[in-house]
Symmetry: C3
């Protein structure tokens, strides 16, 4: 089912390929938890974590996933943007590869397409761990696994993605994956943060959060990231929370079995209130657990294991 | 003797509990050195180093201690104070725990009580590696082990702690531990740096260093940390050294077998002169060695090993 | 042949000692690549990476080399210059050594002579990984190995080192090593960047790059490092490239079998044009590979293995 050497995005993946990842990831879990067992699937293999943006959670999740499969982990971190641009990225990658065999390179970079450029310069599998506002496919897959675990099937499922759609690689990867699986996705946010071309992705657009809440099976809140906006596109956190924050009152109008998701880290009191984040509908920590499972699956699968 | 799941401070520890740690730590030493042997006491266990303040020595000491016991070490470092505040700390901890089982979390944080908050949100043992100006219990225990190794017993032993008592978690942990063991502790420093309530801890207070020197069996010099003071409480390094610095002349007036301690890193020429730091009375490197031994003991004991 | 406990520089090394390192390094390669095999040569040994200057490539190369030999790796990084100065360096080193046995310390520091100071305070082997503008002996050795692999012999070989000779520890280590081996070295650069005393090292000096190009067997371009110059000694990158940059036009006037070297990272378009860096004469990635091989050899040899 899975024959790809790289995972650069969810846009290109078929339903069968996505399901293959979910199925493999599920084998690493038991009773809702990771088994915690160390497998020797990747013994003798080297996984390079190549992070050009600050990251603690995602890089830690990949590190744990790689170690759970007994891989060696090498870490290259640079937040110096001069290192991160253009040909220099390729130089960096070729240099590291000259130091010894790399089997998988996990790449995070603020430039869309950077992982693809690494894939062309390196004789290793590449997994995109987030490239600018383009894609964050392992986040998309962990979200999708979480939805499958709680809701069972995707056909006709109503999923809302709420917040800064325009700057969110998390939103894009979820959009690609969820529509491929047959879910009905609605994006919702301030007009300034919803790109015009999003309707081409066969999704609904809503500007009034309150209106769509009662119909949704899944509400995925995005993190407000002021640092990603070059000009102020939002009035204030308080104003944003009033219009698009998921608080207890809004949660009360959700379907009985609807769930709340968030990619973390949460701005509590802005896009998500603390009681909702910690409430019964929240599957946020399940998402984190599934992140390790999905990354274990992908590290193994891109190496044909 | 030891039944605690956490080590949050020395204030709560009984004489028997402290002695149990010292005895266990001593088993890892031979002829004054660490045996250097790798034991499999914590094989398969995961120790998380959760450092929200810059630290190299303490975190390296814990890392070496954990690896000496064959534990897996995960490191989470953040000096971003926004991550470090309030509920976000709990979010961070819960997230990491969702990625896989954590057996011990070692926590350093600039907020007093942070390790306790972690202990409440996590199903793991927690060791406080320094929380604001509250406690630094492993430092206290390594100091106490060093005193026991050199002086034998604590009853009636005269110990001076000299310097910035008000801002020092090292001083507090030592005060709790040493008085529990029966030592007679005198704190000494400029009036601005000795808190009023310290006398409630059954210790003597002195403002004239020269006066107390001849009576002391142990003189523990604290590091002057300008960065911890929000307003200037000291005239100048030179003035401080003149009144409270331990120089060769003052050392000459110490008891014959009295020892000099310092938690490091030393401001040479300020609180401690170079020849005293490197002199025969100095047990400073012995303290560092004992740091690893004490941390090995605690990592094992909080897990019931 | 090799009896040294430390490698502090190439100035003191004999021809036989250099050749011994090259020969040992070659055993770790096959068909131009590192074998990638993990040897147990240093099992149970601890290598401390003590980096007081930012470094990713060199420290990663040493880390990979140490792990290829099954050593334990400890990392101490500080870019805080206060930690890095004078006696405090010795304090830091003694402290780390008090935490457990260190077998080899790899030291990078911005002060010339710092590795020697560490060697005097520590009962471990020391390898200099770059000390100020003094020496960078492992870089010199990897360059020399690369020249031997491509050109065979050193006697009478014409080698040009081009750029900022005055501030370059890479240039100095190469000068010492190459002249010891019998190569004829010419240094070339702007008059402000060639020190007066360089002629004492029995090398030619040239200020006109174009004139020497046709005679050279090896052209080693140095990185322009504005950050190392306390006053502006260069007019501009553009002016520098015009006079001393190796571009396609200049490359065309090189000897048929002459090679191009660079210690990395490259300022593409300044000292070296992209097509030359990626062209057929370039042995730059071979240098990187040889860096790991040379460091493996040295880690083993300073421990008498």
């Amino acid at each position: 089912m899975w024959t790809r050497k790289h995972l650069l995005g969810l846009e290109a993946l078929s339903r069968e390929e996505i399901v293959a990842v979910l199925d493999r990831a599920s084998t690493f879990k038991k009773d809702g938890r990771l088994t915690g067992e160390t497998l020797d699937t990747l013994a003798g293999k080297t996984v390079l974590l190549l992070f050009f943006e600050p990251s603690t959670r995602t890089s830690m999740s990949f590190e744990i996933a790689a170690k759970n499969l007994a891989a060696n982990v090498l870490r290259f971190t640079s937040v110096n943007s001069s290192t991160a641009k253009g040909e220099t990225l390729v130089d960096t990658v070729r240099n590291i590869a000259a130091m010894g065999p790399i089997d998988v390179a996990v790449v995070r970079h603020d430039t869309p397409g950077a992982p693809q450029r690494v894939a062309r310069s390196l004789d290793a599998s590449v997994i995109n761990a987030g490239d600018g506002a383009h894609e964050h496919p392992t986040q998309g897959l962990l979200d999708i696994l979480t939805i499958r675990e709680t809701k069972g099937a995707f056909d006709g499922l109503n999923v809302a993605i709420v917040g800064d759609i325009a700057h969110s690689r998390v939103a894009r990867s979820n959009l690609f994956g969820l529509t491929t699986l047959g879910a009905k996705v609605t994006v919702c946010g301030p007009a300034t943060l919803v790109p015009d071309d999003v309707t081409q992705l066969a999704v609904e657009v809503a500007y009034d959060f309150d209106e769509i809440i009662p119909k949704m099976d899944v509400i995925m809140m995005l993190r407000i990231q002021h640092e990603r906006m070059s000009e102020p596109l939002l009035p204030s956190n308080r104003e944003y929370a009033k219009l698009f924050g998921l608080n207890r009152e809004r949660e009360n109008r959700m379907k009985d079995d609807a769930i709340v998701m968030h990619p973390g880290p949460i701005n509590r009191g802005v896009e998500l209130d603390a009681d909702v984040a910690d409430g019964e509908r929240s599957v946020i920590l399940q998402q984190v657990t599934n992140g390790v499972a999905v990354r274990m699956a992908l590290l193994a699968m891109v190496l044909g294991k």
